[in-house]
């Protein structure tokens, strides 16, 4: 079984982001960037499948500019065998990302595609579902448990009501929730080793896909700030305030 993992380079989850002063977007220059957190779960799961002898090869793919090589190196330091950067200076919408991945999948022929359930920058939560529909492969979204036996895939999905259990078969597209596993830290020797692993760069234009944006961002603004609150001295005061001032209990 060959596993393909899609990885996005995003502003690190700990960074307090800033909206650009011209309201054109969010500042990403000189900001710490990292692997999109649920994508790390996808990487971890792929590496585990390899360690368990279920995966024969693991490949990470990212779409972005030259700098996205760093998240691919991180993926390989975590144990991914090789990686591919689909190079573009543009920001692609989820539909275009899925179409681009589909082109690569036709070439790489993986049996399983893993990715995070959403990117923490644009929070769209679409790419895996679109890719599954384009490929006509089974879809498993927001998974928190995965078991593969032969061709059979058993998954647990985190849904608003609790957990949903499904059974399906390879090939499949699965999107990972944060509770699927605990991503490992890359050790220093593995970071060194990852520098020697293969990283191919393919110009996205060579794939012949129309990635023209369909959506125009008119402006990006800061959310309204909440009014400063007060500290209360004890429970009595708190309950009184809630009852007579805020009138919510």
């Amino acid at each position: 079984m060959k596993v393909l993992v899609a990885v996005k380079r995003v502003v690190d989850y700990k960074v307090q982001i800033r909206v650009k002063s011209d309201n054109s977007g969010v500042e990403t220059q000189n900001v710490k960037m990292s692997v999109n957190p649920p994508d790390e779960n996808a990487i971890e799961e792929a590496v585990k499948l390899k360690e368990q002898g279920l995966a024969s090869e693991t490949v990470a793919v990212s779409i972005g500019d030259e700098k996205s090589q760093d998240v691919l190196r991180t993926s390989m330091a975590m144990g991914i065998d090789k990686s591919i950067l689909l190079k573009t200076q543009n920001t692609l919408e989820p539909l275009a990302v899925a179409k681009t991945l589909m082109k690569l999948i036709e070439k790489e022929k993986p049996d399983l595609v893993l990715m995070g359930k959403q990117a923490i920058d644009d929070d769209s939560n679409q790419t895996g579902q679109i890719l599954s529909a384009l490929l006509n492969w089974p879809q498993g979204c927001f998974i928190s448990n995965l078991k593969i036996e032969g061709n059979k895939v058993s998954i647990s999905r985190e849904i608003d009501e609790g957990i949903e259990n499904l059974e399906t078969s390879l090939p499949a597209v699965l999107t990972c929730d944060l509770r699927l596993n605990t991503p490992r830290f890359a050790s220093l020797p593995n970071i060194m080793k990852a520098k020697k692993k293969p990283l191919d760069i393919i110009d996205i234009d060579s794939l012949g896909i129309d990635t023209t944006p369909r959506i125009k961002t008119l402006k990006v603004i800061e959310p309204p700030k909440r009014k400063a609150g007060v500290m209360v001295s004890d429970v009595k005061e708190l309950v009184k305030k809630l009852k007579y001032e805020a009138k919510v209990i």
Binding site: Y13, I17, V19, V26, P38, E93, P94, L95, A98, K117, Q118, I120, D121, D123, S124, N125, Q126, T127, Q129, I130, S132, A133, P138, Q139, G140, C141, F142, S144, I159, D160, G162, I163, E164, N165, E167, T168, L178, R179, R214, I215, K216, T217, L218, V220, I221, E222, P223, R226, G229, V230, M231, V232, D234, V235, L238, V239, L242, A246, V248, I249
Partner: protein
């Protein structure tokens, strides 16, 4: 042109997220159709006729649609798409799982998690866990939107008289088998639309201590929520998680207990009307968004609050 809303339901009643989404649709058109896909949904369809804002209900009733597998529903939706200017679904795990497949089938870019509708082609959505708000415009022939339920009021579920139309089920070759759904039963209000939410974090220390939180929640007739840390630690199930990768809530009162307030948690609750934070650590970022903060040991504070509430009730009765 008419607008189509995809119903979220459990085959017997509509989820409140559907009613929020219908309200959003009202901003786009007066001709709102509700598409109910499910199994044995005659009664559900008849009940839904009364929803004030609806002009038509389209139903597709088939045993195979019982478990809402998106591979089956998406083609049925895209088959109807050309009659509509907009197709809306709630931005719940139901809608998130389904609508992007329609996007693939129609070759239309979807706009996720819409919190405001400026005009028929301009929409507002949060990005970066709600730390930035993006206004976007599109001129695609059909607009696909998922709607954040907490950003729109629930529509009236009475006073209407929608017509009912049936659309035939078309099967899709499906490799997925539904096994089961593990749903926790609770008499408390639903987290997504409760008036009061009492939420616990890592400060609760274990699942046993969450009982203290349940007691407080019951006293207030509140829903229970949790931070990701508490869910990850196994104190409580994933369906209670509030935050960027969990549920979005906007109750009148949100009480955060033993929650430090990571950006990702704030993303899920900072639209609440009144926020209370109870935490030992005065430096906890949750205090930055709280209307009322109490720096206290929660194991002392919770029983005291319960006592005070009992006292209040005695005075009133």
């Amino acid at each position: 042109m008419a607008v189509l809303v995809i119903a979220e339901h459990d085959n017997s009643s509509l989820k409140s997220s559907t009613l929020n989404t219908i309200t959003a649709a009202k901003k786009l058109s007066d001709d709102i159709h509700l598409f109910i896909l499910g199994s044995n949904i005659d009664e559900l369809t008849n009940k839904s006729k009364d929803i004030h804002l609806l002009s038509k209900i389209i139903k597709c009733d088939n045993e195979k649609l019982k478990n809402f597998l998106p591979e089956l529903s998406a083609p049925l939706i895209s088959n109807l798409a050309e009659n509509y200017s907009h197709i809306l679904a709630p931005a719940s795990t139901f809608g998130k799982n389904l609508l992007p497949r329609v996007s693939a089938l129609l070759d239309i870019t979807q706009i996720s998690d819409v919190i405001d509708i400026v005009s028929n082609d301009t929409f507002v959505r949060p990005i970066y866990a709600g730390n930035a708000i993006s206004q976007v415009q599109t001129n695609q022939k059909i607009n696909l939107l998922t709607i954040r339920p907490t950003s729109f009021e629930k529509s009236e579920d009475s006073g209407g008289n929608a017509s009912i139309e049936e659309t035939p089920f078309v099967d899709t070759d499906l490799k997925t088998i539904f096994i089961n759904r593990e749903v926790s039963k609770s008499d408390r209000p639903e987290l997504g639309n409760a008036r009061i939410v009492v939420s616990g974090g890592r400060g609760l220390e274990n699942s046993d201590n969450f009982k203290l939180l349940y007691e407080l929640a019951d006293k207030l007739n509140a829903a229970v929520g949790a931070s990701r840390a508490a869910v990850d630690s196994g104190y409580i199930g994933n369906e209670y998680q509030v935050g960027q990768t969990g549920k979005m809530v906007a109750p009148e009162l949100y009480i955060a207990i033993g929650i430090s307030g990571a950006i990702q948690h704030l993303a899920g609750m900072k639209e609440s009307k009144v926020i209370v934070a109870i935490n030992k650590d005065l430096e906890a970022p949750i205090f930055n968004v709280a209307d009322y903060g109490l720096s206290s040991d929660l194991f002392q504070a919770i029983p005291e609050i319960i006592k005070e509430l009992d006292l209040l009730n005695q005075i009133e009765s």
